[in-house]
Amino acid sequence: MLRPTRMKKLQIVALEGFRDDIVKGLQALGTVHLSDYSEAINDPHLKDLLQPHPISPNIRRIAAQNIALNRLLDVFERHDPDPREGFIKAVFAPMPPKKLETEELSGPGLLDVVDEIIGKVDAEVAQPVQDLERIEEEIAEHGKTRGLLDLVAALDIDLGDVGDWGFTSVLLGVAPKQELENLRERPEEITDNAFYLGAGETSEDRIVTAVVCLKEQTAAVLAALRRLNWERVEIQGLQGTPRQAIDSIDKRLEELDQEKRAKERMIVDIARLRKDELRKYRELLMAERQRGENHTKFARMEHVVVIEGWVPSESVAQAVQEITSITSGACVADLTEPDANDDVPVQLKNPRFFKSFELLTRLYGLPTYNGVDPTVFLAPGFLLFFSIMLTDAMYGLIALVLGMLLIRGGGKYNEMIKDGGIILSSAGIATIIIGALSGGWFGGFGLKLPVLASLQVFDPMVQVTSFLLIALTIGLVHVNVGVVINVAHKLKAGQRWKAISENLWFLFAQPGLIFIVSGNKSLGLVFIVIALILLLGGHKAMSMFQITGFMGDILSYARLMALGLCTTGIAMTVNVLASMLYMAGWLGIALAVIIFLFGHVFNFLINAMGSFVHGLRLHYVEFFTKFYQSGGTEFAPLEMKFDTIEIK
């Protein structure tokens, strides 16, 4: 709480032979964030001693295996896709994720087994896939011919006669119907009547034609026909009338379709049998790859490997014990405190309820290792702001119910959804309280019940000016909290000058103004002078902007009131529209109910989103700027993290 987990730098020097076991041990522990020690070779003291550590030789093989596994899984996914959950179902009522139990496997042993399984599945699936491709090609080919035959189906000729013969050519083609006369006459003119054209109708304005001409005149005839928009249809290697050809192609297509289904069923059967197995090995490979890739972060000298990482203080003993037991004590595990130049990874550490709000801190950016973790301040502030801007108990109830559904639905298997659910439901509870106090029950709708009306202590639509003052006062307090955190943090970090020069002046200026206004001018002036000295000393020429900046920050909290009124105002409008319709007979009543429901759902959605983003904004822009420094690197330990498998 208040600051990230304290870390220790762990430096391991061990015999190269223990390298893989150490890495595996650290991965199983899941508490060590490996840092890049390869740069240490640039250190003038170490450069003669250390060499860069090469990447694991297994990496290339793992990459090839990964590609092969993905290729097979893609084939399976194409023919036997996994059932997909819609967004709503995935978030509110997901299926429990499938867990596959597996033996622990690693190193060359794992790679050999994976090679074997890839070979086996490849052999099983290659033939049906190849057959399927051939069948699909044939289907496409027949489909194309079938399309051409459809064009000439109206002709009653033997397709075996089409083509070039000893002296004559027989050609098929389609043309616009109105050209029929020309199609007959023009070629007759150029061929001296050595030409025959038979025609059939295909549609209202198209005709299909069979043309017979002398072989030596084919080119001239074709040219004449094309000028009349005649398009040739080239069909080869078929016998019988077009109708008969279509029938036989249809029959063949049916056979092919059955063959295709059979092959697909075969692939599906193999998929059902092998999919989980392939996925299991893919995940094991991923862990293996993670271990292997980290080799480049190490340094080595002759037979010794140097590994450096960060361990949370409370996990140090366990990590050292693990390494000592792996190497039977033949190693050096050196622990040091981080120094000022270290880029220490950041792990946020907050009690359970606040832990969920880390999501909102992360959204802005992780704090630096020596900075303040603002999550415990952010949580209550966010809930307060959200509830004031949503300011309706019924909307709060909707948020609470949605939040609970998230926690009990997708939250069971997904931490982020669970955190979102906790934030939404706690924001819902806060909104119910603020909504009840301000008389928001679907706008003023619920106030018809005396019980609910009796809870109201404040009417935002009437006491508008008081609402504005409350909003600005909250802003003032919030900004002050930010300033106090900054001063306290800087003092603790030994940065005294920063503590007093940055924004301490603001804390002196306020009592100064209060004393002056309340009549105690001399005491007030003392405070104001101190504030001015601090301000001018710390900010010099930019002092003026500090004052306007703080004023702007506090004014910005007026949005609490404006957006609160916005929710209330729109809710009121919905109620007014609905009540006007309610007076207009039974159809009006039905419409009134629809307007009421849709209106309030719309108002809830739009204003819940507004309350969320503006609640965050007030923290990110007005509050965090007083003390917060982001830019930390996420603590990402080497760990065994599997989606679907469980090691026995």
Partner: protein
């Protein structure tokens, strides 16, 4: 029924509040929508964050709507009997409508920021939160516009009077 000139001025205030806000929000949502369509053509899975970013410049339209409704309720055109109000009060309502309508034009800038934010989200999805905050910055002045209008309505007893 004879309408007093005060009522007519107030109605003009409501019309300007909603009308200008609708134009401004429409342009803003349009700018963001064009960029959004580009992003989802590359990656349809980004529809969620893109939609949220596109919705941001809509809020000014809602402020315009709220301003118009507050005026209409205040002078009794909506949900009650039309009040006899003095012309000066009508001018005040018009002033409130104008400030909301004009400040809604922040939606245009917000739409442009949201559009760039979508570009950022397309490349690096983790920048979504920051992109939303950047876009929300532009809305501050629309909120201040709404705030001033509300203060005008309260001060002239159009609201809460």
């Amino acid at each position: 029924m004879e309408l007093s000139s005060g009522i007519v001025w107030a109605i003009m205030g409501a019309a300007i509040s909603m009308g200008l806000a609708a134009i401004a929000s429409g342009i803003g949502v349009g700018l963001a929508g064009v960029a959004g369509a580009g992003v989802i053509s590359e990656d349809p899975k980004k529809f969620g964050p893109v939609l949220v970013l596109q919705a941001l410049p809509q809020t000014q339209g809602i402020y315009g709507f709220l301003g118009a409704v507050l005026i209409l309720i205040g002078v009794g055109v909506l949900g009650g009997a039309v009040k006899e109000i003095p012309a000066a009060m009508g001018y005040a309502a018009l002033g409130g409508g104008i400030v909301i309508g004009l400040s809604s034009f922040t939606a245009v800038a917000q739409g442009a920021i949201a559009a760039s934010g979508m570009g950022a989200v397309a490349k690096r999805p983790e920048t979504f939160g920051q992109s939303v905050v950047l876009a929300v910055m532009a809305e501050t002045f629309a909120i201040f516009g709404l705030l001033i209008a509300i203060l005008i309505f309260v001060g002239t007893k159009i609201m809460g009077g």
